[in-house]
């Protein structure tokens, strides 16, 4: 029975529903379909990035450079758009994905070939990417009136009632669900995080898989970079500052184990949605937005404590497992 109903995801989904009911009991307008579409659209970048971060965390790494990657790609495509306003949007998106993927590849290569711990690598590249934005832009902003209409209009264009930004998130979720459950890459990602030694003996290259995870995360950050800059119609150095931790938080709330190997696409999406609902609901229920940080911090702590309880091994432990204290 428990094989078919994933406990964590069900509880998280229930928590979101309860949250929505509580908000709706006082402000029914919040659960109107049009508003829920808005909430989903607001959360779409977080969902896309959380999927990439999930893959990285599953392989026992962490990518702290996603927000900086997003900002650098966003600035780059915005400047390309200013210089060549005629470039078609698919071409811009391709550039964004490739650029983001290339930055992810830098992280991945340093982790794979030089065996530098991922947290150190991405801490370094995070500050480097942010600095490069300043260098290429000279600290100047790229504003709405400088961007072409097609560039800013694309993520907002509605298809079947949903903006394209939301469709990008939906599409990413579907692609990831298939990739994680139906492809060799998805299996090797779980295998590398679950037990690297066993993975090596089954013929999986641990470093190479981690490299691929970083490239995937980078490519998604690049895509989000374009969508973000085009949606808000502005690009500057500090775009999405500190967003990397919100992305990690979404994964953690979604039950993805920071020690690797445990997690699901549904968990990452629900974790992001939970944060998105909280963020959007605060002004509606008359709580000052200043509470947002404290509330999301508490949510992370509660979620982690809960996950640790449910994941605890049953029975008597004679030898405390070394992995548990890691």
């Amino acid at each position: 029975m428990s094989r078919f109903i994933p406990v964590r995801e069900t509880i998280l989904a229930a928590a979101i529903v309860v949250l929505l009911i509580l908000i709706a009991s006082r402000f029914s307008g919040f659960v109107a379909p049009s508003n829920l579409v808005n909430v989903f659209n607001d959360t779409a970048p977080l969902i896309i990035l959380a999927l990439g971060q999930m893959v990285v965390i599953l392989t026992r790494c962490i990518d702290l450079s996603v927000a900086a990657n997003l900002a650098l790609t966003g600035m780059a495509v915005a400047m390309i758009n200013v210089a060549f306003p005629g470039l078609p949007i698919p071409f811009i998106i391709a550039i964004a994905i490739c650029l983001g993927g290339a930055m992810g590849a830098i992280n991945g290569l340093l982790v794979w070939k030089l065996a530098i711990p991922p947290i150190v690598v991405t801490l370094g590249t995070m500050t480097i990417f942010r600095g490069i934005i300043f260098l290429i832009s000279d600290g100047k902003w790229v504003n709405a009136h400088e961007m072409s209409e097609g560039f800013t209009g694309f993520p907002r264009a509605a298809v079947l009632g949903l903006p394209i930004l939301s469709w990008c998130a939906v599409l990413s979720v579907i692609v990831f669900a298939v990739m994680m459950s139906r492809t060799a890459l998805g299996r090797s990602i779980f295998a590398v995080g679950g037990n690297p030694h066993a993975a090596v003996y089954t013929g999986i290259d641990v470093g190479k898989t981690q490299f691929k995870a970083f490239v995937i995360s980078g490519a998604l950050a690049g895509l989000t970079g374009y969508l973000w800059v085009a949606r808000y119609a502005v690009a500057y150095v500090d775009i999405a500052g500190g967003f990397e931790l919100e992305v990690v938080a979404a994964c953690v709330i979604g039950g993805i184990s920071i020690a690797g190997g445990i997690g699901s696409v549904g968990g990452a999406v629900l974790g992001a949605l939970f944060l998105g609902v909280v963020k959007n609901a605060l002004p509606v229920v008359n709580i000052s937005p200043f509470w947002q940080l404290a509330i999301s911090g508490s949510a992370i702590l509660i979620a982690v404590a809960f996950n640790a309880q449910s994941g605890r091994k049953k029975g008597r432990l004679i030898l405390k497992d070394a992995e548990a204290t890691r």
């Binding site: 030089l114 530098i116 801490l123 999301s296 911090g297």
Partner: protein, 333 residues
Amino acid sequence: MTDIAAQRHIPDRLHSRAYRTMRSWESLLLAVAIAIFIVNSFASPYFLNAWNLSDATFNFTEKAMIAFAMALLIIAGEIDLSVASIIALASTAMGLATQYGAGTPELVVIGLSVGLLCGAFNGFFVTILGLPSIVVTIGTMSLFRGISFIILGDDAFRGYPASFSWFGQGYIYWVFTVEMMLFVIIAVIYGVLLHKTNFGRAVYAIGNNPTAALFSGIRVQRVKFILFLLTGLMSGVAAICLTSRLGSTRPSIATGMELEVVTMVVLGGVNILGGSGSIPGVVIAAFVMGLVTFGLGLLNVPGIVMSIFIGLLLIGVIALPRLWTMLASRGKS
């Protein structure tokens, strides 16, 4: 082999190798520091000036105070990403107390105790509930700063007593600032604690193999709890210095400092996976980072561009020795 677990299960080889690289690491860092010092003195005529150099120490003293405690924590295999938020919360608490007429001694007590409380809060989740510290402190990082935002909102606290400014702006002797003296004293205390006491030995043992440490009679959880208390306490000290130096508290105070502290520790040769590192390394790394930012500042390089250099330094210093050994072993075979 890139995976963490594999490195952890060969402690003997790793330790001796790590120990050797650590020794050469400190000399490498020292060479980097001296090189930057020389480049700086040629690059700007304003560099070699006792008052300037004394001012330059503010670039790193507050971060380094936390970095010492953080070094112990990382050596023991944990991490605390909430230190900058502890500064914000301690600073907010001190600001709040000032509004009710607290004097300098009370402010110091409040700053230190808020730091200790936050450290205990982190320690509780990590050692008693057994949760991974990186996740717990990402949570408390939002929580502590969030409480500051709830208390302060858009406001800033000012009006600290005049005697309070001594901590961040005072001089003990000639050009030597109070903060510089604190930095030296704290460095010596942590150096002795880590390298000369049983406690320090326990920290290394836990970082290399927590299970073995447990079975050799080390109270692993208690040591870790004390280490979280220490990072909290040091964040409290840094909060006192920073608040006193700036003379005001905003909820966004010290934003992003946690990553600079971790960078300083890693640059100082502490293995981010735990088990090795030294206090002298962290001291030299503090000077390197201070010299880089100060030198670039004299050349009118904007702060955000300095971060490129810090990032490159972090990756470069760690990558170069590995690249070197890789090329050397390739040449042999």
